[in-house]
Symmetry: C2
Subunit: 91 residues, 2 copies
């Protein structure tokens, strides 16, 4: 959970997640909207991949990324549990 939340705490990384929710994309296409050197952008992708939020495969010279929903659902589950704790508290 700590890794997932830290990965999503950066606006560039959240923008990548938002983009990949609409379908897979190449690293180059993901990089285009971001005014940032490629090595810096690749470090952001690595943080997302290490947190399990994205997966990537390389075919020839093109690396393609896709979203992995597991961590998103894990985070949703934690938040849902929190609101349940709150609803159950004695008034």
């Amino acid at each position: 959970m700590s890794k997932i939340l830290a990965a999503l705490s950066d606006p560039t990384r959240r923008a990548v997640v938002e983009r990949l929710m609409t379908g897979q994309a190449s690293v180059s296409a993901l990089h285009t909207p971001h005014d940032m050197a490629m090595p810096t952008f690749l470090r952001h992708l690595k943080v997302l991949e290490d947190a399990g939020l994205i997966r990537s495969v390389k075919r020839g010279r093109v690396r393609t990324c896709q979203i992995a929903m597991g961590p998103i659902h894990e985070l949703q589950g934690w938040l849902e549990w929190q609101t349940t704790l709150r609803d159950d508290r004695p008034s």
Copy 2:
């Protein structure tokens, strides 16, 4: 959103949020289960307060904290929007 996610990316701070979901508590009571010096613990509370996740009031010598649900709902809204993006993508 970045501040909220960064605040929740630490296990001590998530434990405080989980505790406060069941009702308000004094700083001293919140600190008890954590094997950590009080100044370190107070820095964690400050991060949560700066992110808008908790509020605190001091009455005499006792500071009492309570959860603020706004940022939690904001985060839930963002995640819900993400899953909507995913469901809407062309197959």
